[in-house]
Amino acid sequence: MKTQILVKLALQSIRKNKMRAALTMLGIIIGVAAVIVMVAVGFGARSRIRAQISNLGTNMIVITPGAAQQGGVSQGAQAFANLSLADVEMIRKNAQVVSAVSPVIVTRGQVIGDGGNWRTLINGVDTDYQVIRDWQTASGEFFTAEDVASVRKVALLGQTVAMQLFPGIDPIGQQIQIRNVPFTVSGVLAAKGQTASGTDSDDVVIIPYTTAQSALSGRTFIPQILASTASENDIAAAQEEIRVLMRESRRIAEGDPEDFTVKNQNELAEAASSSTRVMTMLLAAIASISLLVGGIGIMNIMLVSVTERTREIGIRLAIGARGSDVLTQFLVESIVMGILGGCIGLALGYTGSKVLGHFTGWDTVMSPLVILVAIGFSGAVGIFFGYYPARKAAALNPIEALRYE
C-alpha cells in the first residue's frame, strides 16, 4: 500500500480513539516539551553567559584572597585580608605577560548629587581598570595616573547613577558627595547592562583607589586585583606567572596550598553556568524518563490495539494483505502517534520557553535543528516501541484471527 494511504488509515484509527491516543501521547508530549524547554533555556543561558564574559572585559584575570576549594566554590574570600597594594606593585613590576593590573577596593555608600541621592557601589581602582574591563566613557574622561598619584577626588559615574543623580543635567564637572566627601565628576561610563547574577553593572561609581583608601575606607587590604593580557592566548601563561610570583613573594613552600586564587573570566563564567547546568540536567532526566514512559505507553496501547483488532487483522489478511502490510500499518500508527505527540510537545515546549523567557528576561533560542531532532526522536520512539506489537500483529494466522471473538 502507498504510504499516503497508510498514514491516512493510521490517522483514522487514532481519530476513532481520540481520548486513548491523547493519553498515550502524554508521555511523549511531556518528554519533547521538556527537551525543547531544556534546549531553549540552555541556549539562552549560554548566550547570556557569553554576553557576560565580554561584559567583564577582555582577557581578564581575577585574583582574590583565600584558596579556591575543589569545585570552584570560594570559601568566603572576604574573610582573608591578605591581598595588598604591595601585591599589585609586585605584579606590575615583575610580570612579563601581564599587560595591565589594577586593585579594586569595593565599598558601598550614599552618593548625593544636585538632582538626587542614591546608594550605590563605589569601586576604587587604578587607570588600568579601564583597559581591563574594556569600559569606554560615554562622556568626559577617565581619571589619569596623575589623578591617582595626587589622590584627587574625582569620580566616574555609571549610567544608572548618572541618571539618578543628574536627571536631565550633564554631570561632567558637577560636584557630588560620597559619604559626605566632595568629589568632581570627570566622566560618565558607557552602559554595560546586567551581570550574571542579574545585578546592574551601571549602578556604580568609580574613583582612584588612592582616594578610596584615604578618604573613604581607611582600610589597606584589597578584596580583588584585576589583571589582563594583550592577547587571549597569553591568559594561561599570565595566570601561571602571577601564581608563581605570588607564591615567591609570600614564600609559600612547594607543595603547600596557596592562600589566594587566580582565575580567568572563562573559569568564572563556568562557575556561573553550573547552576543552569544542574537545571539542564534535571530537565534532561525528566525528558528521557518521559520519553521512555511515553514509549512504553505506546507499546502498551498498541498491544491492546492489536488484540482488540485481531479480527480486523484477519479480514485484512484474508483479502490479500501481506504480513508486511499489517506490520507497516501498525508501525505507521505508532510512528504517527509518536510524531503527533512530538509536535504537540514542541508547541507546548515552545510556549513554555517563551513564557519562561518572558519572566526571566532570558532570550530563549529555538533552532530548526532542535525541531527536527525533537520530531525525529519522537518518531524513533514510535518505531522502537511500536515494532514489537506490529510484529505480533503481522505474525497472526488469518484463520485464527478471523475466528477471534
Binding site: E312, L317, A318, G320, A321, R322, S324, P398
Partner: protein
C-alpha cells in the same frame, strides 16, 4: 482464463491437538469448472470450513494437491498466497466481517489497496461500481453499524467481487440472516453467477442449497455425494412471491 477453476487431488488436512490428531479432511477430490455454483453441505464438524479455508488459500493442506485457476498452490510462500487471495478469490463470511467504523465504500475499496499488481487505478470508482452492483449505490458512506444484516452482507459481497476474482467463496453467508434477507442475498449470488462468477458456498440449509446448481456433501472429511441440483429455484422469483404474500396479508 482457465476453464477449470478448482482441481483438488486427494486433499488432506490433519490438525494436531496435543497428543491426538484430528483428520478434518481425509482425501478430497473436487473439480469445479468456470461458471459453476456449488453448495457444500454436511453436518457440523464434517470438514466444510476446513475445505473452504484450503480452497481459499487461507491454510495449506497436510497432503494432496490443489490447482486454482491454473496455478499450483501447494508449496507457495505466504506472500504468494496473499497475492492469490487478493487477486483470484473473494471471501464472504457468515459474520460479514466488515471493518467496524469504516464506511461501506472504504470497506469495499480495501482489497484494491492491497493489490500490488497495480492493474486497478481508479480504486474509488471501482468500489462504488461494485456497491451499485449489489444495489447499495445509495449507502456508500454508511458504516456497518448503520446497516442491516442483509445490507452488511451485500457490502461484504461487493468487497468480494470488487477485484473480479476467479472464484467467490462463501462460508454460511446466510447463517445470520432471516428468510427474506437470505433470499435477497441468494438472489445476488444467482445474478453474479449468471454474469459468469464461479461461486462455492457452504450451507446447512437445503432451502439455500437449492439456489445453487450443484450440491457436494461432505461427511467425516470425505465427499459422499456430488450431484446437480434437481428442482433448482430462482431467488428473484421467490422474492416476488414473498412480496405478493406480504401484500395480500396486509
Amino acid at each position: 482464463m482457465n476453464e477449470i477453476v478448482i482441481r483438488t487431488d486427494a486433499l488432506k488436512k490433519t490438525y494436531a491437538t496435543g497428543s491426538s490428531e484430528v483428520h478434518a479432511l481425509r482425501g478430497v477430490d473436487l473439480t469445479i469448472a468456470r461458471g459453476e455454483f456449488v453448495a457444500i453441505m454436511g453436518t457440523s464438524g464434517s470438514g466444510k470450513s476446513t475445505l473452504m479455508n484450503l480452497l481459499g488459500c487461507l491454510d495449506t493442506p497436510t497432503d494432496g494437491g490443489y490447482e486454482l485457476d491454473g496455478v499450483r498452490v501447494e508449496g507457495l510462500g505466504k506472500n504468494e498466497l496473499a497475492a492469490i487471495r487478493n487477486q483470484k478469490i473473494g471471501f464472504v463470511f457468515q459474520g460479514f466481517n466488515l471493518l467496524p467504523r469504516t464506511t461501506a465504500v472504504d470497506n469495499v475499496e480495501l482489497p484494491l489497496l492491497y493489490d500490488r499488481s497495480g492493474r486497478k487505478r481508479d480504486t474509488r470508482a471501482i468500489a462504488i461500481a461494485a456497491l451499485e452492483r449489489v444495489g447499495l449505490g445509495d449507502r456508500l458512506e454508511h458504516q456497518p453499524s448503520e446497516l442491516s444484516g442483509g445490507q452488511q452482507q451485500r457490502v461484504a459481497i461487493a468487497r468480494a467481487l470488487v477485484t473480479e476474482p476467479a472464484l467467490m467463496l462463501a462460508d454460511e453467508p446466510t447463517g445470520n440472516l432471516d428468510t427474506r434477507t437470505t433470499t435477497e442475498v441468494m438472489a445476488i449470488f444467482q445474478e453474479l453467477n449468471e454474469q459468469g462468477m464461479t461461486i462455492v458456498l457452504v450451507t446447512h440449509e437445503s432451502e439455500v442449497a437449492v439456489y445453487a446448481k450443484r450440491i457436494v456433501e461432505v461427511r467425516d472429511g470425505r465427499i459422499v455425494r456430488d450431484e446437480p441440483v434437481r428442482n433448482r429455484r430462482s431467488a428473484a422469483a421467490d422474492i416476488e412471491r414473498l412480496v405478493t404474500q406480504e401484500r395480500s396479508a396486509a
